[in-house]
Symmetry: C2
Subunit: 210 residues, 2 copies
């Protein structure tokens, strides 16, 4: 058993970790990921850089933890929709609209947010891969439920979840969204309309009959 003293120490360590992440995220968003040094984070917290390094091995490790926390939040929102009630088609639609909205926020609303997330993507692909796997698992649960409710035709939920992910990359993959918005192929309003059109087609393909 953990002694009350050890437990209190653990609580304090967890609280310090959390404070480091909060301050670092605020600095990454205001100064920018590249320009923020661990020394800046330490100064803002009124602690020594050595103390920050007791909790995180590097700035990159701090960003990894921030990305994990951020994606865990989005994952939680998606799970809540996936495990809700109502027709499976409506849940898939709501999940993909949310995912698209969150991607626009992560990559296109704030330049500094973009740099932070891009650094996480190139340095900590494992965090991103785990998030993608979590999304696919949530899609698969909704698809299996849709089949069980005889709303969707029988289908391998895991394979169909991958298809949903792949068919909607233009709304969730940063490179494809950028292709679209930056080359003026479509603006955000058109993107939203097109996502609904894609979902109409995909859901029609999944439905047990028309």
């Amino acid at each position: 058993m953990t002694s009350p003293v050890a437990a209190a120490q653990e609580d304090r360590a967890a609280a310090t970790r959390r404070r480091i992440l909060e301050v670092a995220e605020a600095l990454f968003r205001s100064i920018g990921y590249q320009k923020t040094a661990v020394a800046d984070i330490a100064r803002e917290l009124g602690m020594s850089p050595a103390n920050v390094y007791r909790y995180f091995a590097s700035k990159s490790a701090i960003n990894e933890a921030i990305a994990e926390r951020l994606l865990a939040g989005i994952g939680g929102e998606l799970d809540a929709i996936a495990d809700g009630t109502g027709p499976a088609a409506g849940r898939l639609r709501a999940m993909l609209r949310l995912l698209h909205a969150r991607h626009l926020e992560l990559f296109f609303r704030e330049k500094r947010m973009h740099d932070m997330v891009s650094a996480a993507m190139s340095e900590h692909w494992g965090v991103i891969a785990a998030f993608v796997a979590r999304i696919e698992a949530a899609f698969a649960r909704v698809l299996a439920d849709g089949v069980a409710r005889a709303e969707f035709a029988p289908v391998d939920p895991v394979a169909a979840a991958r298809r949903l992910k792949q068919a909607t990359f233009p709304w969730t993959h940063p490179v494809l969204i950028a292709d679209c918005l930056e080359k003026g192929v479509a603006d955000e309003a058109q993107l939203a309309v097109e996502l609904d059109g894609m979902l109409d087609l995909l859901i029609r393909g999944l439905k047990i009959d028309h």
Copy 2:
């Protein structure tokens, strides 16, 4: 009317242009796009660089013409399938399989081919955009034909053509194919199987009934 002399001169100019492109493409593929200079192309042709510049303003302009010719070839193959006979679904399937195969060739079989095509993509987006528009138009013709034959449910062929293009980016967009192959998410054989799975879903979504 063009005089016989002028016509012969035009023929010779077209033949020289064609020879420059053939030699340049061979050098780009053997030495690499970045390492080939206009002087190398001229030497190989036994002409002066100044003479090459009479036909093309720059190496980049030569590459633009090569890309145009290459994409015109693929566009022709796709049009031939699109305007063939048989069920619309089968034609869409054949077109997307061909497009995927050609993208693998362009970007993943030869490193030097990749560099050449990538240079064309960044320097001459207009050529690529025209090719994409041509593909979408070919899809739209097949979709309209499918609706006319009561094979597909009524649909806006232009919008549905865009959906087909978007849903199949994982098999045609160089960044997405690379994501997949280089991160070991899937190999080429799995990619082919997954494309068929995606086409099953999309065609089911288009069909007038199941």
